[in-house]
Amino acid sequence: MHAPITSTTRLPIGSDADLAWVRQQVRQAAADLGFNLVQQTKLVTAASELARNALVHGGGGHMEMTVLAEGAHRGLRLSFVDAGPGIRDVELAMTDGYTTGGGLGMGLSGAKRLVKEFTLDTRPGQGTTVTIVDWVSGLPAPRTGAP
């Protein structure tokens, strides 16, 4: 369906510094594709949440970043893969405020609200893959008052 127009980039998620690198790479790719500033910020934030999830709960893993093209539309697909214990109760994990780590419990549910497509694939004992997709909206960023 989605025909990738460039190859997939793979980034490791194993430390704090890796999270920062993931954020920077996603920001750069989103900016290059023409996402507006608000979209970029939402996407980078979602990536940060999911990468941290993979690090904290999944014991690390990696992110795959793929540029998508569908006609004239451009998009970005990010997959966060870990080989951790998996999520036992997906419904509970997706609830606002539910946390097993030290955060505010907004990671999964919050990330889902920030992007257009969100899929979670998890098997107890075999790890978790969260994939998000966002498309460049047809509308450019609103002009600001600056002349």
Partner: protein
């Protein structure tokens, strides 16, 4: 494969013919509306444009890819064809009408083709060439239609953006006070633009107060109410206070029925009341000049 029996030899022959009769065909095409109304500087400009298209067609013919819209030969004129299609679209022509105009280009070429082979006894060659020409013309038509459609999409996206911008002006009411008077139905896309423009204005104007006036909004559904709440929350995070004014009784009732809590939001009856609130909060007092002191000498 539906090749229409276009033998490579025939395609090459057509290519050679287009090259040979370049000048004559271009002269005829230049008077067609498709070229005449787009290249308006001079007739020579139109003729040059025709020649560019002809060269591309001859190139495609020589490559034998008469049916291929992706044939490299079209690459050189794709931009030009796009501009032509866009100009016709702006003039109010539908893609079908534009396609009709492109199809019309075939006739003068067919006439020339028949004239050239008039004395030729080999009737089959003429038929094969005209058939190849028909195939090539319909491919050209597809190439142009493709650019028409994308030009149309671009136009719609641009107009939509302009409409959104026109419909959501952010006004500076006072030093440190900005307002958006919303008029008409709010959908999700527009709510988003309103939110972003208002927040940008808060930064640009260093506004501590932002007024969302919904006097002109006929109805509010739960999605719009949520967007309003989000705008207020985002403004607060930035250090500005949001005031919602002009909530009509019917809308207030809807909001209550939807179970949405606007309790944490400052509301005022009208834009003027909201401005008065913002000024009072900043300790600004606006009063009429005492009549006795008035009157410069």
């Amino acid at each position: 494969m539906a090749d229409h029996d276009t033998a490579p030899g025939t395609a090459k022959e057509l290519g050679a013919f287009l090259e040979r009769r370049r000048e004559q065909i271009a002269q005829r095409w230049a008077d067609a509306a498709l070229f005449r109304t787009v290249f308006t500087v001079s007739r020579d400009e139109a003729v040059e444009a025709c020649k560019a298209v002809l060269d591309a067609l001859a190139d495609v013919s020589r490559s034998g890819r008469l049916e291929d819209v992706e044939a490299p030969g079209f690459g050189t004129v794709r931009d030009q064809l796009g501009r032509m299609a866009a100009a016709r679209a702006r003039a109010g022509f539908t893609p079908v009408q534009i396609a009709g105009e492109v199809a019309g280009l075939r006739e003068p070429v067919t006439a020339l083709l028949r004239a050239e082979f008039q004395d030729d006894a080999d009737d089959e060659r003429v038929t094969a060439c005209t058939q190849a020409l028909a195939v090539l013309t319909s491919t050209l038509r597809l190439v142009i239609m493709e650019t028409t459609v994308s030009a149309g999409e671009e136009l719609i996206a641009r107009q939509r953006q302009q409409l959104l911008e026109v419909a959501t002006p952010v006004i500076k009411l006072w030093d440190g006070v900005v307002a958006v008077p919303l008029i008409g139905t709010l959908d999700s896309a527009r709510s988003q633009v309103v939110m972003e423009s208002l927040l940008e204005a808060i930064v640009d104007q260093r506004a501590a107060y932002a007024i969302l006036d919904i006097t002109g909004v006929p109805t509010v559904d739960s999605l719009v109410a949520q967007h309003l709440m989000k705008t207020v929350a985002a403004a607060r995070l930035m250090g500005a206070e949001c005031i919602v004014s002009g909530i009509r009784p019917a809308i207030a009732q809807t909001i209550v029925q939807l179970g949405i809590d606007l309790g944490s939001i400052i509301t005022r009856a009208g834009l003027a009341d909201a401005l008065a609130y913002a000024l009072t909060q900043q300790g600004i007092v606006v009063s009429a000049r005492p009549v006795t002191e008035a009157g410069p000498r």
